[in-house]
Symmetry: C2
Subunit: 143 residues, 2 copies
Amino acid sequence: MSVQDIIVKLKEHGYKITPQRQEIVNVMAQENRHMTVDDIHGKISARFPNLSVDTVYRNVGVLEQLNMLDRTDFGDGIGRYKLVEDGGHRHHLICLKCGCSEEVDFCPLDYIDQQQIRDKNFAIARHNFEIFGYCARCSKKEE
Amino acid sequence: MSVQDIIVKLKEHGYKITPQRQEIVNVMAQENRHMTVDDIHGKISARFPNLSVDTVYRNVGVLEQLNMLDRTDFGDGIGRYKLVEDGGHRHHLICLKCGCSEEVDFCPLDYIDQQQIRDKNFAIARHNFEIFGYCARCSKKEE
DNA sequence: CTCCTAAACAGGAATTATTCTTAATAAACT
DNA sequence: AGTTTATTAAGAATAATTCCTGTTTAGGAG
């Protein structure tokens, strides 16, 4: 999803485009990896010294609600955010060391037996699927 | 995994069996659902008024390390724990309302194209796969 | 262009899950 | 029974996230 598309979608939903919001989207599009709120805030506050963390939280919240951003937990309870890719829903290989992520062209819901879920009368709302490990660069360093 | 098996495995790894540890395992086996530390602590402190939350954290930590317990995040950054089922690794349908969970007989790693991951030189350490939604009972209540 | 209003903001306080510290306790082995 | 070492309780410390309040501003209307 391009920065432009995101801005358009925000406007469509009645959100104002502030410099802070714009910059948060810019940085996330540029970095294109799972970032903590602190990561995002750090990147931006170099240039905008008084961006509040609350603003970052508020904005990732908005982006998440509009399905333009995924929240992931590496297992430590800290939220990590990444803009969704073009074409919607994707899953990722996530490096536990550097936090980089690569798309993987696979969604388990396409393979699971949907019937067994319907049989249980379970109404699916959403799902998580993340594969954690070490990317090529970081595995090298470990050796 | 039965309570007995868990106790044996703890002993094998040199952990002592204290009443607190025993009781935490009992409650989790009995409830058999994703519980927060607060849930667990609440259940037990009725009978053991001075169980500290730290003890609960410490013990779920131990159980997690020995792969006898899964930590899951419903999306709010709060850890939820559940003993793993007999036969090892499983995935779950998790009710966002009541926290109950049902096993689903499917692991995405059995279906994903492993070659594409090897090609990226990515070393898999672990993975998450959870399906969130509303169980039969809770969907009824929503209507 | 100027005015108006709702949304967004900064700053800091409050909240809350989790971890840490320390001294006391107790499991398990000899 | 005595010793060792892990474990515990209690509360303080830490840190992510949310809340509060007063101020600013984006974007539409006149």
